[in-house]
């Protein structure tokens, strides 16, 4: 057949019509568009029935009630629990991120024993037997007291079990990290002569005078404070913030008083002076205190008159007097102290000066005032058996006890004005009855200065001293020097990296425990948390681990731990509370002021001559470096979650660099611009940082955020149990998943979302020991910035 023009066109048109009429084209187009919309690598979350499960968040001392939303039993979201006394439905960013802590890549997945530079997976039986054997050996050699334990707090039955184990073994070396709560408790004991916790009825106060607290940046119970801050306008309450930097708290305050760093005590005493001079004080306390009050009045009027204080603090005389008048005339005034989140202790005399304002106003144990709260309900422990070795060991003083004549103690840090000799210290310490003077900073210092570590075995639970303590590098050296370190951390953090054995704990959503909420507020809440998710890894409740260690040691130690497991222990030690706790989840104290009337003892101010100065000389270090707490960065035991890191501004963290905050004036003097690299040096260390120029910070002050500079992950390899697959983690960078066995999820144990980012400010600031309390009260250090 001949194809002419006509037939060619005819065929072409026919084909075109055929194709157009057939569904094939449309089908193919449709298929390809569907195909391009298949993203098999994008997860499709499983659907199911919605349920809620309640527990308590323990990421900070606020301990908010939380509600976990589950889909078909799978936890998908954490929300604030409505009606819970502390937070009533509100929740902070860290609490919401709780589930990221559950699946954190740096979680320790099974018990591990260090061998050389690497880690070997162990079974729980092996790991516990190993620890028990080590302790047994120590006891056999008469070194029971060389067992030490560091925990985040001494509240609750789990901390109680650690303390009990130490006692049964024969050691007084039980340490908790220093917090503002400790300072407040010591102060209450000294000034009011009672053993009580500090309560702040902020929600009912109409005038809050805050000395450098991070009131809305994590101080006390953060969410409670947010609520109190929001209701301020309606309540017509005033908030005054004393701080050298325009923090979020200062920005939210009605009045911002930028007193020079370290002069807060002077300002507080200046306000006292103005109140006394104008006769604007409650005479009740003054009369009861008698001569001591007269001495106090004389001290503040002679040395801290507003005119004098104005010079040191940089605050106008009229402003000081004005604050004094307003405070005295307010219905329910309240002065609060505790820098930043209150995660560190404060100088006892600074707290005393602030609290003197409360005493002068007389608003103690009254609505809207300062309350002396009964401490958390005591747990009922069965009697403890101590054998000979234990009794002998327990008779020895703790390594980190603050004793008067330790030469070279805390070095330059205590060279400030306030220290007039060791004599005062020992006298004062002994007058604080019933207070522990075990200092965790001192413990590591003694380990460092001793030829052979006096601590043979260190247990660390719910604490990360190698990150959170001042001069973290020196703490690491000390931990390295301790022959055997047992970590109970859930994460491969700075301290567990240096451990010899890790007995990984459940994270808070996986375990039951008793929790004491209400830090920094007037209400105390006792709660029971429960396991709301199935443990993801081969971890244990640390309470169970301790009971098992005790049982493995047999004899009097085992019989001091008669419970079958931790849950049985919890039920028995909470005693009468158990019934209501297990039913309601929590028990809250009344929101009425304590009925106890207290006197104020002003004799604490006898011999007062200032608070410990920060470390360093002004000549070589013209600037003052301060560590600042921000709500968006977790700065305690837990590192920030990926979500939290995402919220951090690029003026705080840029790529892997910390930015230091300085005033444009300071920047001009140093010769740096915003974003420039610079080196910051202090007597303790130096670091390369970038510069953030901000008008809201006082010239001469350098601010650096807490919570950066983490390293999370195992150096070396993690060798799993099943010979089939070995997880090789070289430099903790690659993830090689093994199959089978317990260890199917073995990863690098590295968290790169916060790990390796920025500088840990605690590497630049050394501890400063408060001569009165023996606590580490450093809040800054002298520093120098140089251009790169």
């Amino acid at each position: 057949m001949k194809i002419d023009r006509r037939s060619f066109l005819g065929l072409g048109l026919g084909a075109a019509a055929g194709v157009a009429a057939s569904p094939v084209t449309w089908k193919l187009t449709d298929d390809s568009s569907i195909w391009t919309q298949n993203w098999p690598w994008t997860p499709v979350p499983r659907d199911g029935e919605v349920s809620f499960d309640d527990t308590v968040c323990t990421l900070c001392s606020g301990n908010c009630g939380i509600s976990i939303r589950k889909i078909d039993g799978r936890a998908v979201k954490i929300e604030g629990k409505k009606g819970y006394p502390v937070n009533d439905g509100g929740i902070c960013l860290h609490g919401i991120s709780g589930l990221q802590y559950l699946y954190d890549p740096s979680r320790v997945r099974f018990p591990m024993v260090k061998s050389g530079d690497n880690w070997k997976q162990a079974s729980w039986e092996e790991a516990i037997a190993l620890v028990a054997t080590k302790i047994k050996e120590l006891r056999k050699n008469g070194m029971a007291d060389s067992l030490a334990c560091v925990t985040g707090s001494d509240q609750g039955s789990i901390a109680g079990l650690y303390k009990r184990l130490l006692m049964a073994v024969g050691s007084q070396n039980f340490y908790t990290t220093d917090t503002m709560d400790k300072s407040w408790e010591m102060l209450i004991a000294k000034m009011h002569g009672v053993s009580a916790a500090a309560g702040f009825d902020i929600a009912n106060s109409d005038y809050v005078l805050s000395f450098g607290t991070g009131f809305i940046e994590g101080w006390g119970s953060p969410v409670n404070n947010f609520l109190a801050n929001s209701s301020r306008k309606e309540r017509q309450a005033k908030f005054v913030q004393v701080e050298y930097r325009l923090s979020n708290t200062a920005a939210a305050a009605d009045v911002w008083l930028p007193a020079k760093p370290g002069t807060e005590t002077d300002l507080a005493l200046g306000i006292c002076s103005a109140m006394i001079t104008a006769n604007l004080y409650n005479s009740e306390f003054a009369q009861k205190a008698g001569k001591d009050f007269d001495a106090f009045a004389k001290l503040v009027n002679e040395k801290y008159a507003p005119e004098l204080v104005s010079r040191t603090t940089g605050i106008d005389v009229s402003k000081i007097k004005n604050i004094a008048v307003e405070f005295a005339k307010a219905k329910a005034p309240l002065a609060i102290a505790g820098r930043g989140k209150g995660d560190s202790a404060g100088s006892l005399m600074e707290f005393a000066a602030v609290h003197a304002i409360n005493c002068l106003a007389g608003n103690i144990n009254k609505v809207g005032g300062f309350w002396t709260l009964e401490k958390q309900p005591a747990l009922t422990w069965p009697s403890l058996e101590m054998d000979d070795a234990a009794t002998k060991g327990y008779a020895k003083p703790p390594v980190g006890a603050m004793v008067a004549n330790v030469s070279g103690s805390s070095g330059a840090g205590t060279s400030g004005a306030g220290i007039s000799g060791a004599g005062i210290f020992s006298a004062v310490v002994s007058s604080v009855s019933g207070q522990t003077t075990n200092s965790v900073s001192r413990l590591f210092e003694v380990v460092n200065i001793s030829e052979k570590s006096p601590v043979e075995l260190l247990m660390v639970y719910n604490a990360n001293p190698c990150f959170t303590l001042h001069n973290a590098k020196a703490v690491k050296d000390a931990v390295n020097k301790i022959p055997f370190v047992v970590s109970f951390s859930s994460y491969m953090d700075e301290t567990s990296q240096l451990a010899d054995v890790i007995l990984p704990s459940h994270m808070f959503l996986e375990m039951s425990q008793d929790i004491y909420s209400g830090a920094g507020i007037a209400q105390k809440v006792t709660a029971i948390s429960k396991s709301v998710v199935t443990p993801v890894f081969d971890t244990k409740n640390p309470g169970d681990a301790i009971i098992e260690i005790a049982k493995a040691m047999e004899g009097s130690i085992a019989s001091s731990f008669p419970w079958k497991n931790y849950d049985a222990c919890l039920e028995s030690v909470t005693g009468k509370l158990w019934a209501s706790l297990s039913e309601e989840g929590y028990v809250a104290s009344e929101l009425t002021p304590p009925a106890t009337s207290v006197a104020a003892d002003f004799s604490v101010f006898a011999n007062f001559s200032g608070i410990p100065a920060i470390e360093g000389e002004e000549k070589s270090y013209p600037l003052t470096l301060v560590s600042v707490d921000t709500i968006r960065l977790a700065s305690g035991v837990f590192a920030s979650s990926p979500f939290a890191v995402k919220t951090v501004e690029d003026t705080v963290l840029l790529k892997n660099d910390t930015l230091i905050e300085i005033n444009p004036e300071t920047a001009d003097k140093v010769g740096v611009c915003h974003g420039d690299y610079a080196v910051i040096s202090t007597p303790v260390g130096e670091a390369k940082v970038r510069v953030n120029v901000f008008d809201g910070i006082m010239p001469g002050v350098v601010a650096m955020p807490e919570g950066l500079g983490h390293s999370l992950g195992a150096a070396g390899e993690v060798v799993t149990k099943d010979g089939a697959g070995m997880a090789r983690i070289v430099g903790a960078t690659s993830i090689i998943t093994t199959t089978g066995g317990v260890s199917s999820k073995t990863g690098a144990l590295e968290n790169r979302y916060i790990g390796g980012k920025g500088i840990n400010v605690n590497d630049l600031i050394g501890p400063v020991t408060d001569p009165v309390s023996g606590l580490d009260v450093a809040w800054g250090i002298r520093a120098r910035i140089s251009r790169v």
């Binding site: 919309q37 690598w41 994008t42 997860p43 499709v44 979350p45 199911g48 889909i71 799978r74 936890a75 998908v76 979201k77 954490i78 929300e79 439905g89 509100g90 929740i91 902070c92 960013l93 919401i96 991120s97 589930l99 990221q100 699946y103 890549p105 809305i216 940046e217 969410v223 947010f226 609520l227 801050n229 929001s230 306008k233 325009l246 979020n248 920005a251 911002w256 930028p258 993801v536 709500i631 968006r632 979500f643 939290a644 890191v645 995402k646 919220t647 690029d650 003026t651 840029l654 005033n663 008008d695 809201g696 006082m698 010239p699 993830i735 998943t737 999820k745 990863g747 790169r752 979302y753």
Partner: protein
């Protein structure tokens, strides 16, 4: 399912009290957690960081110690566009109808599977509320377990943004229909994740058409001026663009209100009424 709004469409909106906001970032994280927003190892380049809700930090640019700061949370504004007719800047330019205006709710949607990533909408949005997925989302081992089935995780190459937690509206509406209340949703039944989480209680959410709702009481939207607030302390961002956002801000501080728009020198306080004459007088 047919919708019966009794002739009254909703107009969901948000009011943020900037004097209560403490800049804590809970809203940002609540949003990320609710909406399966992924994260990367480095999130310090804020231009490629997916944050449907972002908290900006404003300063009054005065020297120490006169400095003041204000935090400003910024979700999607769910603009009604000029004349509040639903011609939002982004909706107007989308060639794929991947983003659309819900006339029954006033919510601007984003349909990921329709979006092919041209990013016209990002260019059109005056609030930088839209984000592009430059990478596929990646969660650390096991973390995918916490993803919520209510919101589909997005893939590389599409734009995403705040949806006013539309899935929560769907859930509330479904429940209302199931309970034979039709579309009568109580104020508390539909709240966004950020509103629910805000520990300062700075965020209020509700129906701007319903005088009973808190949002209405707070700003008193003027129906004759496309919802412009009648409360003198309330404002909308870039009001003069006539995008008619459904997110309102409240502040007692003048400098903060002033920061909400661009003013020529001497203009602030003079000409505050935008002209809505639609060209004929």
């Amino acid at each position: 399912m047919t919708q019966d709004n009794h002739g009254k469409a909703h107009k969901f909106g948000m009011v943020i009290d900037l004097d209560k906001c403490t800049g804590c970032g809970s809203c940002m994280v609540a949003c990320m957690s609710e909406n399966n927003v992924p994260f990367k190892e480095d999130e310090t380049n804020k231009k490629d960081s997916l944050t449907w809700m972002t908290v900006f930090k404003l300063t009054n640019e005065k020297k120490f110690p006169e400095t003041d700061i204000c935090y400003m949370p910024r979700p999607c504004m769910h603009c009604g566009g000029k004349g509040d007719h639903g011609h939002s800047p982004c909706v107007s330019v989308c060639p794929a109808t991947a983003t659309d205006y819900g006339y029954d709710t006033g919510i601007v949607s984003q349909i990921y599977t329709r979006c092919f990533g041209c990013r016209y909408c990002m260019g059109a949005c005056p609030y930088h509320a839209r984000y592009f997925n430059w990478w596929d989302p990646k969660w650390p081992d096991g973390m995918e377990e916490y993803l919520s089935p209510d919101v589909s995780p997005r893939m590389r190459g599409v734009v995403e943004k705040c949806s006013f937690c539309y899935h929560r509206y769907q859930e509330a509406r479904d429940r209302a229909y199931y309970e034979e209340r039709r579309d009568n949703i109580e104020e508390g039944e539909y709240q966004t994740a950020c509103t629910q989480a805000c520990p300062a209680g700075a965020i209020t959410f509700g129906d701007l058409h319903n005088p009973e709702h808190q949002v209405y009481k707070l700003v008193k939207p003027d129906p004759h001026q496309c919802g412009k607030p009648r409360n003198p302390k309330a404002f909308r961002l870039l009001e003069r663009l006539q995008t008619n956002p459904k997110v309102y801000y409240i502040s007692e501080r003048e400098w903060v209100r002033k920061a909400g728009d661009n003013y020529r020198k001497g203009e602030w306080g003079q000409e505050k009424q935008p002209v809505h004459d639609k060209g004929h007088k």
